[in-house]
């Protein structure tokens, strides 16, 4: 690590002000940022912890029936409290290990937009709204490729609002070492159609598999996927699996998610 200052504001306004400084960076649960700092791969002059801001913590229901998760809420709290949305709670319950779940936050995960992370699939499949200190961003506009999002410098994810589907499931095939998603698929069935979001697979990061959405909206069963083909082009290829393997898994995981959706 290099040296840095650390502040712990207690309001979103103070945090936003502190982040106005060009070299300042937000600190969520630190599960990604701290290892990066330890390796000296980043050198912010100041860290602004979001962990002491009460308005950014917790799970509640909006009047519109959305599950609202504060941007600094750890995964373990979502796993325990998002009971109105079992697909989301189940996803949170299988992120990393207990230590990671007790520290890592939904805001940090979405801000980082790791191509193998789980939360982006939940946000995209749910058609969630990412609320920041300055605006509201629809999930469909938010993810812009690996590690890239619609966030401006210093913008803070204060809350994420998840519409609750009729049934849903997140099926994750783990990369054996990191246990992030080698391929993860979130299927969410709403009254007006099915949304399918795929993480871990594409070089462009999380994406919606629209062919599967159409097929599943017509008939919500794994069999409905039978005639669909997924191409390995543009899929991540690394020591854990080729692009073709990931493409194959997209279909298998989608089928399993449909079968388990509740």
């Amino acid at each position: 690590m290099y040296e840095f200052e650390m502040t712990r504001p207690t309001t979103i306004a103070d945090a936003a002000k502190a982040l106005g400084d060009e070299d300042a960076q937000a600190l969520g649960g630190g599960q990604t940022l701290i290892p990066t700092l330890k390796q000296r791969l980043a050198m912010p002059s100041a860290l602004v912890s979001l962990g002491a801001i009460p308005e950014m913590k917790g799970v509640c229901m909006s009047d519109a029936g959305e599950v609202c998760v504060g941007g600094a809420t750890p995964h373990a709290v979502v796993a325990a409290e998002a009971t109105a949305y079992p697909g989301l709670a189940g996803l949170a319950a299988h992120i990393g290990d207990p230590a990671v779940r007790n520290r890592g936050t939904v805001g940090g995960s979405l801000a980082n937009n790791d191509p193998s992370a789980c939360y982006p699939a939940a946000a995209l499949a749910s058609g969630a709204t990412i609320v920041t200190n300055t605006r509201e961003i629809a999930a469909d506009d938010y993810f812009q490729g690996m590690f890239s999002t619609a966030l401006e410098d210093g913008e803070i994810i204060t809350e994420v609002r998840f519409p609750v589907p009729e049934v849903s499931h997140y099926e994750k095939f783990v990369q054996p070492a990191s246990r992030f998603a080698l391929v993860g698929v979130m299927v969410a069935k709403f009254a007006d159609g099915v949304r399918v979001a795929v993480t871990g697979a594409s070089e462009d990061g999380v994406y919606r598999w629209t062919e599967a959405e159409a097929a599943l909206s017509a008939s919500f069963s794994a069999d409905a996927l039978a005639d669909l083909a997924v191409s390995g082009d543009g899929m991540i290829s690394d020591l854990h699996g080729s692009g073709d393997y990931r493409a194959h898994l997209v279909k298998v995981m989608t089928g399993r998610a449909v079968a388990k959706a509740a």
């Binding site: 390796q39 054996p176 070492a177 080698l182 690394d238 020591l239 854990h240 699996g241 298998v252």
Partner: protein, 788 residues
């Protein structure tokens, strides 16, 4: 029944209380007054010429005390290979110098070319970044086959990338070739024994202290063998007289081989401590551990098994390329040769064996012995090709093995690979194994798996290994530059408790519990009154340390011999005290008595007499009660076993799940069955890790792609089944006093082929024409193999 804490008792490990409550003292826990910190500058290219290193700016950084580069060590020696191998043509192996710091060239990612010493670690790290370094990158030598072909060189001065081209046994080559040519059936298999990163929980660390008043050095370091480390530093590298260098290996958090060797960082902190007249400390980061600990395995082998139509083995012949990495680590030349080729007859009466090994330099981390060291590579080749032959011949894989097993009445048995096995009973182990794994129930379980859309396979194998390393005379003939005896001093203190100083080092093996059980049993006293002292050259006799499952077989034998001397002397003292002749003294349950009388003195009374020798026959007996013994084994020991497992394969994803695993081992006599079970469990986890998940991958530029736990997978509890382990009724070793064989590596040796055999069986059962898949069997590899 074993006594509470004697031989055969499942005593819980006394050292665990210390480890589990955080009271262990590891090298990094030792902080000396005034200590400075070393941080190394390491190459980020695999192969390159060091054009210049400008240290001026770094020296001006806050807190910086000194900067070292390769230039500072040109006058001292290199870190040598411990074993001289001659090529088939009689030429000695190529031995390029391995300097303390890279000089002229860097040869692998992580190769250290400079070190900064500063007041704090942070300051040293900052100064490393301030070094102005120009390194001209050269193409990396990574693939062994291309490296053998020539082109870019790892070491220019030896003009080849081939360290040696070894034949075993060269005189048997023609006969083996002929036998294979004429054989009715030959099965051929090409396979890779995957490279492994050792991943000891505790990273390497070294702290050096120098006393200018006495010119004495102390090195605290993560070592499995402090005397060997001292010998290498004194005799080869820095030339510090042995009597001026104390090496202390305190608690060590796992080694698996990687901490046998001397590394340049140890020499650097010693040199820095002397220059600065201050203690200097270095602790590796996890990244440094990945990049610079000596890796394991990394063989590419073609094996042929020739047999009769009825399955009788005629010959094994192998050609292996063994990666030694960028430099020769201390045992790197022995591992692929005498710890591998000599085991290539397995448990079988096969008459012809010929092994060819080419050791190859590449721009990768050095490769050396890792839990099993050579024997896992031999077992894997043999047991995979036998399984494949059984399939080709349409024979049951267990029956094929049984048909060729050495039988109990054939010992001592001279194997076709040049060893003399002393004892064993492979059929008995196989009988036990078939019951443990419930072979009869397999068909029903397979049907059940298939109902759930899964493929189920059964894999078996048999292994033999050579432990108790090693008879010095024999290994001397074979090229070893050291002896491989061990030593123990038994000191009976005046008040009757004991300190036993041993050359073996315990870093997970439970010596502090098991060794006292031996002594307690022999003396008939409580094990609690006996302590083991190890890991400090200032306290222990010159022993060779712990590796090759040798501690109990070799050092334990030295303990027995020293204790026998104690008993002999104590009897003399008792005889004097009881006014009898020593021939009439019997020792039982800690009491010395005159045979046929009720006259006796206790062990404690004799001890006190030895140290307060009033009315003592000093003309016949010296005061004190302390004895040392060195023990050099007559032969290797030969643990063996039969392993079986069942796996389920998910045909949609290629994921392999190990459903059950049974291990029937013969370790000879057992001192502490609980510790042995633990050793087997750990070995199995490592072997299953190698088989399924551990994936060391260098890209063509020599970057280690799996250099952190985000990409390098270690086996975790939920990757593993509950094991069934049985090591009862072993056949005792015939040549050491305890009849023990060694159990530390068996699990890691026997398990990989078991897993692969089972997976191939599962895939075949699903109609997939897959004869072999290379380790690790990650889901993607299995799935890819299934696609044909």
């Amino acid at each position: 029944m074993p006594k509470d804490n004697g031989i055969g008792a499942a005593t819980t490990r006394r050292e665990d209380i210390r480890f589990l409550t955080g009271e262990g003292q590891y090298t990094d826990d030792i902080n000396l007054t005034g200590q400075a910190h070393a941080v190394f500058a390491r190459s980020d290219v695999a192969n390159g010429v060091i054009k210049s290193i400008d240290t001026t700016a770094a020296m001006d950084m806050p807190g910086v005390l000194a900067v070292f580069t390769g230039e500072d060590f040109t006058e001292v020696g290199g870190n040598p290979a411990g074993w001289l191998i001659n090529s088939r043509d009689g030429e000695p192996m190529k031995e390029p110098k391995r300097p303390v710091l890279a000089h002229g060239k860097v040869r692998h990612v992580g190769d250290a070319y400079a070190a900064v010493i500063a007041e704090t670690k942070q300051q040293a790290r900052d100064a490393v970044e301030a070094l102005e370094v120009e390194i001209e990158e050269l193409p990396a030598v990574i693939d062994m086959a291309s490296a053998i072909g020539g082109g870019e060189l790892v070491h220019d001065e030896i003009e080849t990338n081939v360290c040696f081209d070894w034949g075993w046994i060269e005189d048997n080559r023609a006969a083996t070739d002929e036998a294979i040519k004429n054989a009715p059936h030959v099965t051929t298999l090409e396979l890779v024994n995957n490279r492994l990163v050792p991943n000891a929980m505790e990273p390497r660390a070294s702290t050096a202290d120098y006393n200018p008043g006495t010119d004495e050095y102390t090195l605290y370091t993560t070592s499995q063998n402090p005397h060997l480390t001292r010998l290498l530093i004194s005799a080869f590298v820095l030339g510090i007289p042995e009597n001026k260098l104390r090496v202390v290996a305190p608690d060590v958090g796992g080694g698996f081989g990687s901490k046998i060797y001397h590394y340049g960082e140890e020499a650097l902190v010693l040199a820095a401590a002397k220059k600065l007249k201050r203690p200097v400390k270095w602790t590796a980061s996890r990244t440094e551990a990945f990049l610079t600990d000596a890796h394991g395995r990394d063989h590419v082998t073609k094996i042929e098994l020739a047999c009769e139509k009825d399955g009788t083995f005629i010959a094994f012949r192998t050609e292996t390329m063994a990666n030694v990495g960028a430099y020769l680590s201390n045992f790197s030349t022995a591992t692929p040769t005498f710890l591998h080729g000599t085991l290539m007859a397995g448990n079988y009466t096969v008459p012809n064996v010929y092994v060819n090994v080419k050791a190859v330099f590449t721009n990768t981390a050095p490769v050396d012995a890792y839990r099993g060291a050579g024997r896992p590579e031999a077992t894997y080749s043999i047991e995979r090709v036998i399984d494949m032959a059984a399939r080709e011949l349409g024979m049951d894989p267990i029956e094929l093995r049984r048909k060729n097993f050495i039988k109990p009445d054939q010992y001592p048995f001279a194997s076709a690979a040049g060893l003399e096995y002393d004892s064993g009973n492979y059929d008995a182990q196989m009988d036990k194994l078939e019951a443990m794994i419930d072979r009869d129930g397999f068909a029903a379980r397979r049907a059940e798996s298939e109902k759930n859309g899964k493929l189920r396979g059964l894999g078996v194998n048999a292994y033999i290994e050579a432990c108790g390393i090693a008879p010095s005379n024999l290994v001397g003939v074979l090229g070893s530059r050291v002896g491989l005896y061990d030593a123990a001093t038994v000191r009976v203190n005046a008040t009757g408790n004991l300190s036993v100083m041993v050359g073996a080092h315990s870093h997970g093996q439970g010596h502090e519990t098991a060794f006292p059980q031996v002594v307690a049993d022999m003396l008939g006293i409580e094990a609690e009154s006996i302590d083991i002292v190890h890991g400090d050259t200032a306290k222990i006799p010159f022993g060779m340390g712990t590796y090759g499952s040798r501690s109990l077989a070799v050092c334990g034998s030295a303990v027995v011999r020293a204790t026998e001397k104690i008993i002999a002397k104590a009897k003399k003292i008792a005889a004097h005290m009881l006014e009898a002749s020593d021939g009439d003294i019997e020792l039982k349950d800690g009491q010395f008595s005159v045979a046929g009388t009720d006259k006796s003195v206790s062990f404690g009374e004799v001890a006190l007499k030895a140290y307060i020798p009033h009315q003592f026959p000093i003309e016949d007996i010296e005061p004190g009660l302390e004895e040392t013994a060195f023990y050099d084994p007559a032969n290797f020991t030969y643990p063996s076993g039969a392993y079986a497992c069942e796996v389920e394969v998910d045909p949609q994803t290629g994921k392999v799940t190990v459903d059950r695993f049974a291990a029937a081992d013969d370790f000879g006599n057992i001192i502490n069955p609980m510790i042995v079970t633990g050793q087997v469990h750990g070995g199995l986890a490592q072997g299953i890790g190698q088989a399924l998940v551990e994936n060391t991958t260098y890209d063509e530029n020599g970057q280690l792609l799996s250099a952190s736990y985000m990409d390098y997978c270690m086996p975790r509890a939920d990757d593993l089944p509950f094991y069934q382990v049985d090591h009862s009724d072993g056949t005792p070793c015939t040549h050491n006093p305890l009849g023990v064989k060694g159990c530390g590596e068996a699990g890691a040796i026997g398990s990989p082929p078991t897993i692969i055999n089972a997976v191939v069986d599962a895939l075949q059962s699903g109609g997939h024409d897959v004869a072999h898949v290379d380790m690790p069997l990650t889901p993607s590899r299995v799935w890819t193999a299934m696609q044909g």
